[in-house]
């Protein structure tokens, strides 16, 4: 790129920084409510300064089994992610390597699954789970979310494998490698970053999901997202307690997205091309 004046760069960066801070203010506000004493949350007029306290966290832990809620969220999102990768990565590979003229059509079919509005499939699925007795368990959510996510993983991995020249695998096959070996030892390591990006998207989707677990799980299996809604509907729970509880829902996923930002960006880039 040609040289750009320093003044222009400073201007660009300041604007970007200010906009980003504006975008982050509501999040900071949420985090801060969790450290405010209840009487200062409900002060008139609302004020920005407060005496920090951990009371809201004590209340949250007293009212909710936070560890169990987080455990449910972890089980649901890890289960969904693992199953989706297990189904989606081989399928994406097969579609990318197949010479059939239907393979691209199949890939678009998997992308189209993304369009399904939950209500169209969720109600019959709810009845199906009720009939086979899985309703109320983690499994019901994992099974449904895996369907949505494995379709998405298949589509993403299809484009990752498509961008990978098949020469290496062909050489391995000629050298007497099995087909499974060529897939597992040659192709998969080459698209490692794509698989990580897929895993990140699956984790984010199922961790943040609340509509499906709200209707598919019972009290003892509910994840933190659903607990937040229950907490909100209860009269004696303050915004502060809610903010404390929200820490456990937002911080893990935000940290993960920040640490794995490179894969997040790469995954989105891949979705465009």
């Amino acid at each position: 790129m040609a040289r750009v004046s320093t003044r222009r760069i400073v201007l660009e960066r300041t604007t970007a920084l200010v906009v980003t801070i504006l975008f982050l203010l509501p999040v900071c506000w949420l985090i801060s409510t969790a450290y405010k004493p209840s009487n200062q949350i409900f002060s008139v007029p609302p004020r920005l300064t407060f005496t920090p306290t951990l009371d809201q966290f004590r209340a949250a832990f007293a009212l909710f089994d936070v560890a169990a809620l987080v455990r449910s969220s972890v089980i649901i999102s890890l289960g969904t992610t693992l199953l989706s990768l297990l189904l989606g990565v081989p399928a994406g590979y097969a579609l990318a390597r197949s010479r059939s003229r239907y393979s691209a059509g199949f890939a678009y079919f998997f992308l189209a699954i993304r369009m399904i509005p939950a209500v169209a499939a969720l109600i019959p699925f709810y009845l199906m789970m009720r009939d086979i007795g899985l309703l109320g368990s983690w499994w019901a959510v994992i099974v449904f979310n895996t369907m949505l996510n494995c379709a998405f993983v298949t589509w993403m991995m299809f484009s990752y494998f498509k961008a990978l020249p098949p020469d290496m695998e062909e050489a391995a096959l000629t050298d007497g490698c099995t087909q499974m070996g060529a897939f597992w030892k040659v192709a998969v390591p080459a698209v490692r970053s794509g698989i990580i990006a897929c895993a990140l998207f699956c984790m984010m989707f199922s961790w943040n999901d609340f509509l499906h677990p709200m209707f598919l799980t019972t009290l003892d299996a509910k994840p933190i997202s659903v607990a937040l809604l229950t907490a909100y509907g209860t009269k004696d729970i303050t915004w502060g307690t809610l903010g404390a509880l929200a820490h456990f829902s937002t911080i893990p996923i935000v940290l993960m997205a920040l640490v794995m930002n490179r894969y997040f960006v790469q995954g989105a880039t891949n979705g465009v091309q």
Binding site: A2, A91, Q179, L211, A246
Partner: protein
């Protein structure tokens, strides 16, 4: 020998794809097909004995009933305005962050936080901030006499617009990310040529960058419209579709009818209509993408 290998290869690839295809068919397509079946019945789980075939009656009801018609219009209004606003804001931010530098990468990582946090929590944040009694924004707006006395989210004339703004807050960062990916993939030599030819900033933008970006723009629009059309979490927690159906959307309607009132027949019809609308929007936008692609790349 050659043919046997190619046959074995075909079988291997078939077996690799089969589990995912079967899974999606069993867990996705089969319920969808059942939903189409249910939609022709008057079927309430609480009164299963009174189930009866009603043909297209459920669909007629969706379009005949004033409150469901409102839900359809609300969904379109929400999708159109929130996605349009996100596009403009997202594009501006993407242009700001285009230059590849450590600073910009870090800013982008933090900018993405609203799109990563739980959508339900987003609803809670804004519900708390906009409340006219104690909310940090709502209180001062009410004091200053701006907007309705009861708060922006509890007034039928403003609630949907507020939800649109909340959606923009949540998803503009993702729009920025997608458009930024498109910007970074632009051919550098073409842009350089524009600069050498002495084009001004604005000329470069609307004569070079914008046309080259059309495929990315439309793809981003497709992805975001599909999601916006299915908006649920933030509406559910902030307004629950009210006041007076003013923020009722198709997803809200379907979920309420199906999973709260157990009106399976009608809710299935709502779900199918939603799916149909989404398919139409996506197809329309993808056709535009293809046309833009042909015009630019000539393929």
């Amino acid at each position: 020998m050659r043919t046997t290998f190619s046959d074995r290869r075909k079988i291997f690839l078939f077996l690799m794809a089969a589990p995912a295809v079967l899974y999606v068919a069993a867990v996705g397509l089969w319920p969808l097909a059942q939903g189409i079946g249910y939609s022709f019945y008057k079927y309430n789980l609480l009164r299963p004995a009174r189930t009866q075939f009603v043909g297209l009656q459920n669909y007629v009801d969706i379009f005949a009933d004033a409150s469901t018609r409102t839900a359809i219009l609300n969904t379109f209004q929400f999708t159109l305005f929130s996605v349009a606003l996100q596009l403009v804001l997202g594009f501006a931010l993407a242009l700001l962050l285009w230059r590849d530098s450590r600073f910009n990468r870090i800013v982008l990582a933090f900018l993405l936080i609203p799109s990563t946090i739980t959508p339900l929590v987003v609803g809670l944040i804004f519900k708390a901030m906009l409340g006219a009694d104690y909310g940090i924004i709502g209180f001062f707006l009410a004091e200053a006499g701006i907007g309705p006395r009861t708060g922006l989210l509890t007034d039928a004339s403003t609630a949907l617009w507020v939800l649109i703004l909340i959606d923009c807050w949540e998803w503009t960062p993702l729009m920025t990310l997608i458009l930024l990916a498109g910007l970074k993939a632009l051919p550098g030599d073409v842009l350089e040529a524009g600069r050498v030819d002495g084009a001004t900033g604005w000329q470069r933008f609307h004569m070079l960058i914008l046309p080259l970006m059309l495929p990315s723009i439309f793809l981003a629009l497709t992805l975001r419209s599909m999601d916006a059309f299915r908006v649920f979490d933030s509406v559910f927690v902030t307004t629950g579709g009210g006041p007076n159906d003013s923020t009722n959307t198709l997803m809200m309607l379907g979920v309420k009818e199906g999973l709260q009132f157990f009106n399976v027949g009608f809710a299935s019809a709502v779900g199918n209509v939603t799916l149909l609308f989404i398919a139409l929007i996506a197809t329309g936008l993808l056709l535009v993408v293809r046309r833009a692609d042909v015009r630019i790349n000539g393929k």
